[in-house]
Symmetry: C2
Subunit: 403 residues, 2 copies
Amino acid sequence: MLKVLKFGGTSVGTLERIQNVANIIKKIKDEGHDVIAVVSAMSGETNKLLEYAANFSNNPEANEIDMLLSSGERVTSALLSIALNEQGYKATSMSGREAGIVTDNAHTKARIESIDTTNMKNALNDGKVIIVAGFQGVTEDSKRVSTLGRGGSDLTAVAIAGAIEADVCEIYTDVDGIYTTDPRIEPRAKKLDKISYDEMLELASLGAKVLQNRSVEMAKKLNVNLVSRSSFTPEVEGTLITKEENIMEKPVVSGIALDRNQVRVGMYGVIDRPGIASSIFTALADANINVDMIVQTRGLDGTTDLDFTIPRTDWEDCKKVMEKFKTETKNIDYNDTICKVSIVGVGMKSHTGVASKAFSALANENINIRIISTSEIKISMVVEEKYAELAVRALHDAYNLDK
Amino acid sequence: MLKVLKFGGTSVGTLERIQNVANIIKKIKDEGHDVIAVVSAMSGETNKLLEYAANFSNNPEANEIDMLLSSGERVTSALLSIALNEQGYKATSMSGREAGIVTDNAHTKARIESIDTTNMKNALNDGKVIIVAGFQGVTEDSKRVSTLGRGGSDLTAVAIAGAIEADVCEIYTDVDGIYTTDPRIEPRAKKLDKISYDEMLELASLGAKVLQNRSVEMAKKLNVNLVSRSSFTPEVEGTLITKEENIMEKPVVSGIALDRNQVRVGMYGVIDRPGIASSIFTALADANINVDMIVQTRGLDGTTDLDFTIPRTDWEDCKKVMEKFKTETKNIDYNDTICKVSIVGVGMKSHTGVASKAFSALANENINIRIISTSEIKISMVVEEKYAELAVRALHDAYNLDK
């Protein structure tokens, strides 16, 4: 098998940990696989360099930031290659440029445009382990070094796995996979063996520490089998994120996600003229505010009540937009003591009674549901924040996720 | 004027010092000059990375060391460019690759083969200050990053200055020029305004901290006007190292150099067969031992005495070679309590009595001269090490170098 592995900043955070990563790679090589490892900068390194830059400018040029930051991954890749060669495993580091990664010109948040795998294929044919400096490429136009922004090394790994048609792309972090829910809330949470791309995207909060949606989306698009596992317990099999067809037994519910970073916006007594809802949500979209759950109910006097949630970070922007609709609304209020719990599972599509089980589970605990929204594979409910953990545990229990 | 500036590790050792370098460049730009600045890694950075590598291997691959070490200069170049842009000076960093520097394939001690100045010329035409990451290029064959070894950033600066036909190449360190002798020995030592390449090469020990012979040799070959000056006192004019023709008033003696790292080898009663001296010095050359001063005198019984000096670092190797000649020699002894003082000056060529003035100056101080050797522009004398400082001061005084 050809395996693309990715080791994040924590996994390569010290010289001992880099040696540990070398040991993981050796074991995989000994099992007869070909290996391309993508590495991040040692943890803390990127922030240190950003602080250096901030010392000189509040607004440094993006292409200089890329020149600056790309050095961190190069250091890790060289060190890991040295460690492997020392143990008799032929290895070679590659910068993003050498790995053939070409991006657009959006420095510090570049998108990968293409990967020329010639160099990597030649090295693999020579029996070499390839250590790619993650997070970077070169721009198509000026051939300057570019970086891919947050989660960039994951993207590097997934994109390489797609371009070179690797059998699997393993993302190593300090967490050994995706759990049915946050184990800090429900200690009986179980690690999932497999999960579909779409479920993973909906369970984003459960993977927040280990996988970014941008990477999962790219894996889905490129049909890359993604594995989330830990470099600290490499003996533990992680969670495979793959396409739905690859999952034989589809659980009705795969996991329970919790999002505490939502604010509920209530617009009461909105004058019910045609297109009012449309103009409100268009204005919010124009301000780049990510509206999540929407409920419209008929209020008194032929007016309408609108309830929706937004990320807490968009709150101030939302207030500005709401100013425009003040005259058409009796009252607008905000509630940030709410949270969103979601039930996710591909099996929902073919099962009935999933939602009602959730509602009764919460009702049994006397938890009031403020807003409900459903999609093909997800049911989300807004409840008071003080019930967050209780709601998660009740739902985890209702669907027997600890079994 | 087009000026190439080079700032070493100490000059860019902290963020404050990088800001100081930005100020120096700004002032030169304000005076109407074009600037290409070559920078080293922040001091300590390269050693830190080498220690990291040593943690994994005693014999790391040279090309991986280059990948590792080249990151340090990239960081400095980006930071300096950010600092300049922030102050409204258009600047761009360039890696060795971007600066067009192509080397041979001898990783960690590569030699510059060619410089394609297109990229730099375009940036200069755009009115930009160019900040080149020193010490690095890319190999001709595999296009991998390579480093130039010790003093590599100086070489980068001199080679760029030669290739782009700069008017001057200023090497900034923490020393403000070349002195007539070591000021720690003779406080009355004076900074030289000008000195020829050949004198500088002979006075290597006086420039040891600021200029390496490899750079001076390249400057001579490429006809680059080299200036040694300090980034800590940029208002002080440094010392210009240039070709002899550019120096109108040629001093008889420019400076007094001292070398304490020599060992005197004495071979007494060498059987005087034809070719014996030749076979001894051939054997030493084959062992890469740098023999400096040689004196042959007739000993007793038709035998020969041979006296010569070698660098202290070659002592052990020399002893091994001497083993082979044991049977042809009555006695071989070594003396490391000696030193070599040298008088250097291009004016010597056209003046007589220079040597005799040196001999009487030392005689007046009762300093015995063990070996003498002379070249066109240098007179070297081996004396007992305890007289080192006294000999330097006596000679400095004899030639009125403090005037």
